[in-house]
């Protein structure tokens, strides 16, 4: 009787280790890559090639003094970092890394990820509000406006995939791309997804909620120590998640010749992550009004056109 629980516990542990490891690795990956793109070496002191730098950073953050701002909304202030991190973690549960390599193979896998990751917008607003700081408040408001606006095209761009695959189960979506990646017939949806996902995970050029030029650090201005580390890890978990969904829904998932499926999955995911980091090294930040009008007036119609086209082809 204990066996399913044991299996679940083991899966949860492995997943926890994987999520933390991935987030830490991504921090290193991004800093190293940005360094290379900006003619500087990036972290290179701690561990081989600076690989242990994120570990050192997180260790440092955990031993830092835990500062609560005066007049902050204490319970909410404490809750917000968890609210940011837990959904990211929960979304990983349904993520298949290869055939059968999944903690919980839900038949609504894609829907689960979209639904759960929506919660993180609440975390950002809560953090902005609870800090009792003007910068944080502005950052939180921006986060709300941005994430709600970009969720719509994000979901709509994935509807095309669901239509074509006929299932919300991620394994089935991958299987449906055995002959042709969805990125080819649904190139429009793929582009909309990439842009919306970048915005949804608050990455440059859409990093307005923490736009350091004007808002110092946005919603997490007042956070330090381990609570800040949680926001940090959550952000990178979402980057991985966004890239993983791009891989599963548009780039054929783990399918590919010669190499084992898991390797293919990671290669494709990291290719998307590379692209997202490349954007950060290249582009200036967009302004809040431009961001919103772009989301509603350009991305939303495009994603609708994509659904229409997919439907049309299926009908024919």
């Amino acid at each position: 009787m204990g066996q399913p629980y044991l299996r679940l516990a083991a899966a949860a542990l492995i997943l926890a280790a994987f999520v933390l490891g991935t987030a830490a690795f991504l921090v290193w990956f991004e800093r190293k890559l940005l360094g290379r793109m900006q003619v500087r070496p990036g972290p290179n002191r701690v561990g081989p090639g600076g690989l242990l730098q994120p570990v050192a950073d997180i260790l440092k953050l955990t031993v830092k003094e835990d500062i609560l701002p005066e007049h902050a909304d204490r319970p909410l202030f404490r809750l917000a970092p968890l609210m940011a991190f837990v959904p990211a973690f929960a979304a990983f549960v349904v993520l298949p890394f290869g055939p059968g390599l999944v903690s919980a193979d839900l038949n609504i896998g894609l829907l689960w990820i979209l639904a759960v990751s929506t919660v993180s917008v609440l975390a950002l607003i809560a953090a902005g509000w609870a800090s009792n700081s003007k910068y944080a408040l502005l950052g939180g408001m921006r986060a709300a406006a941005q994430m709600i606006s970009y969720e719509v095209p994000l979901v709509l761009s994935l509807i095309g995939v669901v239509l074509a695959a006929g299932s919300l189960r991620l394994g089935r979506i991958v299987a449906a791309q055995a002959h042709l990646w969805f990125a080819v017939p649904q190139v429009l949806g793929f582009i909309v997804y990439l842009i919306a996902a970048t915005a949804e995970s608050n990455r440059s050029p859409f990093d307005l909620p923490e736009g350091e030029s004007e808002l110092v650090a946005g919603f997490h201005t007042e956070y330090s120590g381990v609570r800040f580390a949680f926001f940090f890890l959550a952000e990178y978990s979402y980057v991985f998640l966004a890239a993983a969904i791009a891989t599963l829904a548009f780039l054929g998932g783990w399918s590919g010749p010669f190499l084992p499926p898991v390797v293919w999955f990671l290669v494709k995911t990291y290719a998307v992550i590379f692209f997202i980091i490349w954007l950060r090294a290249t582009l200036p930040r967009i302004r809040i009004d431009q961001l919103l009008s772009f989301g509603w007036k350009v991305l939303l119609p495009l994603s609708l056109v994509n659904i229409f086209l997919v439907g049309l082809f299926r009908f024919i």
């Binding site: 050029p205 200036p284 930040r285």
Partner: protein
């Protein structure tokens, strides 16, 4: 037609007139009628027994300049404010009030500007005693805001204020409804120091006014002293000065470009421009022995001659730099997001720019074709050919394009200097004790940030009686407020960045 205000000729050929305070507004109004559209410099002077305010005015269309001297009555130290005629008088009048205690009748907001509101005394007065108590405890006044507005404090510790600038922004949502700049955090009393050091001792200080364009600062200082001394500078030295100041202009604009893009949220250009700036720093290190505070231009010439090896290095740098500049343009100039952020943002119409005393790239990007190097030529510039870049869009994009073009022109100037460097000494024979005759002069150079002027009064001794720095950043910052109105908070940062202020110079 010049209105008759009783003109005399000073030692530096500038028409000057003494006016009683009550005749100042009408006199200035008549000058404005005659085409004088620019208040260059407003200086306070302590003549010992009485205070004086000196106004330098310019007619930008006909290239004329005059100086007005107004003696402050000692019973009641007050003169009429010029703010209703020139918005450019706003901050300088506050500065004179702050440092000399002269009041300006009709000034809309006569508060201290460089020193804290609670400072006691006026330190540039000759009767000010340094051992007097200085500052009473500071308190911050509450600022009024409607229920749906809030004041947000930006700076003096903020990633995007380029130093210790501070502004209070009144926001309604994210829209800027008002702005209240606060400066003075880096006030180091450079004008007072000039009265306590002799002319030679003061030579290294200009490096510290605007430490990103130290060569240009040195030029303004030594130029003023030389003009007061009527000292002829060898042509080779003048060429070397062009070489140093133009390279420094490139270095300064590079830093601007990087930080401006950083303000817009693009991080990479910042690191790229630092790479090229570093090379210029190294060239300066070869030339002067220092990377930032050179003390290279000396009264009568330059400290060291240019070695053939260094000339070769500079020559090799130029084509490399042109390639890099093309790379920047490929990365930035056509980027959709960049264009969306800079086009039509932070408009400054030409009339307003002139009236507010803007200068340099800020003024030229507002469509005013004015460059001191061409229009009030000094040094070797009349012998060299270069274009003055302007833009007609009045916005951030124009300021970007103007500075980019100026970097190219500066490289052309450097090339001409290397090609045509005259033979001869690099320094005139200067007496050990520099002792210019009594008199005063205003000498200005085109620094990367605009018109950097020095109003120097000598009393026949070996140290200045008064040295007033006309800092372009300080004057340009007065244009910030109208440019911000109605823009979003993110634009406010970009607009501030586009002025290219340097706090060492704003606060002096």
């Amino acid at each position: 037609m010049m209105p008759d205000l009783g003109w005399e000729r000073g030692s530096d050929d500038l028409p000057r007139a003494h006016l009683p305070p009550e005749r100042l507004p009408s006199g200035v109004a008549a000058l404005r009628q005659a085409g004088f559209d620019y208040l260059i410099c407003l200086s306070g002077v302590d003549r010992g027994e009485a205070r004086q305010v000196v106004y330098h005015l310019r007619d930008t269309a006909r290239h004329r300049e005059v100086a007005l001297y107004v003696d402050v009555p000692s019973r009641r130290e007050e003169v009429p404010s010029l703010t209703d005629q020139f918005r450019a008088a706003d901050w300088p009048e506050r500065e004179v009030y702050d440092l000399f205690g002269v009041r300006f009748a009709g000034h809309p907001d006569l508060r201290r500007i460089l020193l804290p509101e609670t400072f006691l005394g006026h330190p540039l007065r000759k009767d000010y005693r340094e051992d007097d108590p200085e500052v009473a405890p500071e308190g911050e006044p509450e600022l009024p805001a409607a229920p749906d507005e809030m004041w947000i404090n930006v700076g003096p510790q903020h990633p995007s204020t380029h130093g210790v600038f501070r502004m209070l922004l009144k926001l309604s949502g994210e829209t800027v409804e008002g702005c209240r700049p606060c400066i003075g955090y880096l006030h180091r009393g450079f004008e007072k120091l000039a009265e306590r050091r002799d002319y030679v001792q003061y030579q290294p200080y200009p490096d510290r006014w605007d430490y990103l364009a130290a060569m240009n600062n040195e030029h303004a200082y030594v130029g003023a002293v030389e003009r007061l001394m009527q000292l002829e500078v060898p042509r080779r030295a003048e060429y070397l000065r062009v070489l140093a100041t133009e390279l420094n202009r490139v270095a300064s604009h590079l830093l601007w470009l990087g930080t401006f893009l950083l303000d817009l949220g693009a991080m990479s250009p910042f690191l790229y421009t630092f790479r090229e700036r570093e090379m210029i720093m190294e060239l300066f290190n070869e030339l002067s022995g220092a990377r930032m505070t050179y003390n290279y231009l000396r009264i009568g010439g330059a400290a060291h001659d240019l070695t053939p090896e260094l000339a070769r290095q500079i020559r090799a740098f130029l084509p490399y730099f042109h390639r890099r500049l093309a790379e920047y343009e490929a990365l930035i100039s056509d980027n959709e997001i960049f264009l969306a952020r800079v086009r039509g943002v932070g408009l400054l119409p030409p009339d307003e720019a002139l009236n507010r005393g803007a200068s340099g790239p800020l003024l030229r990007a507002s469509g005013v074709d004015w460059d001191l190097r061409r229009d009030r030529p000094y040094g070797a510039y009349p012998e060299l050919s270069f274009q003055v870049a302007t833009a007609s869009t009045w916005d951030l994009h124009g300021r970007y394009l103007v500075r980019l073009a100026e970097m190219r022109e500066s490289c052309r100037l450097v090339e001409q200097v290397l090609d045509g460097l005259p033979e001869g000494p690099h320094r005139a024979k200067v007496p050990v004790r520099v002792r210019p005759p009594a008199g005063d002069t205003y000498f200005a150079v085109e620094s990367p940030r605009g018109e950097l002027g020095v109003f120097l009064i000598g009393d026949g001794t070996d140290h200045a009686w008064r040295l007033k720095i006309r800092a372009p950043s300080f004057m340009n910052l007065m244009s910030l407020e109208p440019m911000l109105q109605g823009h979003l908070a993110a634009d406010a940062i970009a607009i501030l960045g586009s002025i290219d202020i340097l706090l060492g110079e704003v606060d002096r």
